[in-house]
């Protein structure tokens, strides 16, 4: 791939791994360049497509929520590079434990975006099959999934699926969470467990600077990635709006895990461009200037600039991706509205593996009650 270096560009923030400047200039990095040396023009174009389609899924979902089709949506706007870069570092056998904002990760793992819409529409609570995509259910309670990820990684360890040197066998787990979650006990407990058991798990923190209205200063007095040192494993801060850097850093962390070298904390330094969820109003707690500042660091624009500079894509390619995004949007709108509501009695279906006598009785009671209306109508 063509590399144009960023001579004279603003130096990156200290301790921040960056391979692409906001202007799309390639920043050479002796260590991390080697980790993406195999990335071809096709790969960059594929990641660009993921970024654009991921953003489009998000944008359509926000629109559908505004139209009353979804009860809620948690927008990923601005965090596409952190999600696509990390997701594209995964191998098929790796497992993902997401929070509720990992729509682009889900997309990269092959989860049908309509299933994400179904959850936020209130049709179900996660109908994708974790066994098909190794993408586990969204977790709403902040940080709870980091323990599940660590336990799962302990299982991988027990199964002997690390450190064999077989690239198709050795597996790792990645747990996604935000800056707010780092204040939770569960996340700190997960760090301890992973550290003392040397579990093959990557903690991927998307530091988007805001936990609803609480700024990062309310969560920490030290840069988050430095916390890892206190738990006894490496931490690294990466430019979360730089898809190549996120790919490189996550690849290294996952490989350490697969090799049996234990956990890593990756702090993807990024920014939530939208509201926390569609119920939130960020104008009440943050300045517009901050938003404008981060717009200049847009994760998609910088890849596009990099591709144009390096002649990695022509206008026809960009137009093609745009058309594909439009097609996806049309599909999502129709598919969302077509999602059938669950039948009322389905609430009794999976409380337990086998229904209990009480639940059978309650289901019958509900059925009788609901049927009584039908009889009234018939009369």
């Amino acid at each position: 791939m063509t590399v144009e270096t960023a001579a004279g560009a603003t130096p990156p923030e200290p301790e921040l791994v960056q391979l692409l400047t906001p202007e799309g200039l390639r920043v050479p990095n002796e260590h991390y360049d080697a980790l993406i040396a195999d990335i071809t023009g096709d790969d960059v174009r594929a990641m660009y497509r993921d970024l654009v389609l991921g953003r489009r899924v998000d944008g359509e979902a926000v629109a559908l929520q505004r139209q009353g089709e979804l009860g809620l949506w948690a927008s990923l706007l601005g965090q596409e590079a952190a999600q696509v870069g990390s997701a594209r570092a995964l191998r098929a056998q790796d497992h993902v434990f997401p929070t509720y904002r990992e729509h682009a990760v889900a997309f990269c793992r092959g989860v049908d975006p309509v299933k994400l819409l179904a959850l936020f529409r209130g049709v179900d609570q996660g109908s994708w099959d974790a066994a098909e995509t190794n993408f586990h259910l969204y977790t709403i309670v902040i940080g709870a999934q980091t323990l599940h990820a660590t336990g799962y990684a302990m299982g991988i360890q027990r199964d002997g699926a690390i450190g064999t040197g077989d690239p198709d066998r050795d597996a790792a787990v990645i747990a996604y969470f935000g800056d707010g979650a780092t204040s939770q006990g569960d996340v700190n407990e997960a760090f301890i467990w992973a550290s003392v058991t040397n579990a093959p798990v990557v903690f991927f923190c998307q530091n988007n600077q805001w936990a609803i209205s609480e700024p990062l200063e309310r969560q920490t007095r030290v840069p988050l990635y430095r916390r890892a040192a206190g738990f006894g494993f490496p931490g690294v801060r990466v430019d979360g709006n730089d898809v190549l850097a996120c790919l490189a850093v996550t690849r290294e962390a996952l490989q350490r895990a697969r090799d049996g070298e234990g956990p890593t904390l990756v702090e993807a330094f990024t920014y939530r461009m939208g509201a926390h969820t569609t119920t939130d109003d960020p104008t009440r707690y943050r300045l517009n200037a901050e938003l404008e500042h981060w717009k200049l660091k847009d994760p998609i624009e910088r890849v596009k600039a990099f591709m144009v500079r390096g002649d990695l894509a022509d206008q026809a390619f960009f137009d093609g991706v745009e058309a594909e995004a439009e097609e996806l949007a049309v599909h999502l709108r129709a598919a969302c509205r077509a999602l059938p509501d669950p039948t009322p009695t389905s609430i009794f279906d999976h409380v337990y593996v086998e229904p209990t006598p009480d639940l059978v009785a309650q289901r019958e009671s509900m059925t009788t009650y609901l049927d009584s209306f039908a009889e009234e109508v018939a009369r």
Partner: protein
């Protein structure tokens, strides 16, 4: 691998659960034991004594000291296909793990539309009368029995302890398994082989047949009620004692049958009275057996206070006399 006892053995509840765990671990390599001090020490009550020596540190896991972490990592292990048996050291220590239990463990199967199963057991020694300091004598079972998705059971004797722990581990739903710590050292005969005749996990048991009034209890209070029944028998009154064994789902068939014959019911538990398991039993029996009842259902429970200092716990806890007083009340109508 280990010397698994056979035949009929005289065991206390600790040894019975230990033998049950051992047998489950031998039977299924996916069964793990995890918790604080469960390894070399064998648990503070020695319930897991010797298991780490025989099954290794990968299967009997001494964990960091954090209950949410114990439960949360067990969720991940269960999703990976393991069957973790978590030990919470004492009843009052379960609360840091409460979020994981009620929000994650209980709901995973439901949330996933039945795609995911969490075959895990959470063992909790519970109840008072051991002269302990605070947080070591509580009866939190109603919190868990109120949570759909969890199965909640409690044993009262070594035979049940031995079999119920194995049944709980085999179940594909998560089970909260309450162990009556004041009864831990009481011995009884355990048939280690006879699977036939062992009650299903989720069923109540008539612990003592009787004709004049029904007393329903579970866990540590079953023995108290049996003692009360013996005292009542001396006075010519025949009490039927029912060991509920399962609190979620509640199996009240035996209670209904009994109340229809005796016309009187006393429900006994150590936990606080208000909105406790006894309230549910009373309500359900009233719904199902109203015309059989000769008197309102009576409750004998702990009081609606925090668990008190040990020097007054015997006044707080239901005892033989309070049970008999309640029986008398049912005859006063």
């Amino acid at each position: 691998m280990t010397d698994q006892p056979t035949g009929v053995q005289k065991l206390n509840i600790i040894k019975a659960i230990n033998a049950g765990l051992r047998r489950s671990m031998e039977h299924d390599a996916k069964v793990l034991v995890m918790g604080e001090d469960v390894g070399k020490l064998g648990g503070v009550f020695r319930v897991t004594d010797g298991l780490q020596k025989d099954f290794g540190e990968d299967r009997v896991i001494d964990t960091p000291l954090a209950e949410s972490g114990i439960i949360g990592t067990a969720v991940g292990l269960a999703l990976r296909g393991y069957r973790p048996v978590c030990e919470i050291q004492f009843d009052g220590f379960v609360y840091p793990g409460y979020d994981q239990i009620v929000n994650q463990v209980a709901k995973m199967h439901f949330r996933s539309g039945g795609r995911l199963r969490l075959p895990m057991v959470i063992r909790i020694p519970y109840g008072g009368s051991i002269g302990a300091v605070e947080h070591h004598s509580e009866s939190p079972e109603a919190y868990f029995a109120h949570t759909p998705g969890l199965k909640v059971v409690t044993c009262s004797n070594p035979l049940d302890a031995y079999w119920m722990i194995q049944q709980a581990i085999r179940l594909d739903d998560p089970v909260v398994f309450f162990e009556p710590k004041r009864r831990y050292y009481e011995k009884a005969e355990v048939d280690m082989d006879a699977r036939d005749g062992i009650l299903p996990l989720e069923s109540a048991r008539v612990a003592l047949p009787g004709t004049d009034a029904t007393v329903a209890a579970y866990g540590p209070m079953v023995k108290t009620c049996l003692d009360a029944a013996a005292a009542a028998a001396d006075d010519g009154r025949s009490l039927e004692v029912i060991d509920l064994r399962t609190l979620s789902p509640l199996d009240l068939r035996a209670v209904y049958d009994s109340v229809r014959r005796t016309g009187r019911l006393v429900v006994v538990h150590e936990a606080q009275r208000t909105l406790g398991v006894g309230a549910e039993v009373a309500a359900r029996v009233t719904e199902e057996c109203f015309y059989s009842l000769e008197a309102p259902v009576q409750r004998v429970t702990g009081y609606d206070t925090p668990y008190p200092p040990a020097r007054v716990e015997e006044e707080y806890l239901p005892d033989l006399d309070r049970v008999l007083d309640a029986v008398d009340r049912t005859f006063a109508f």
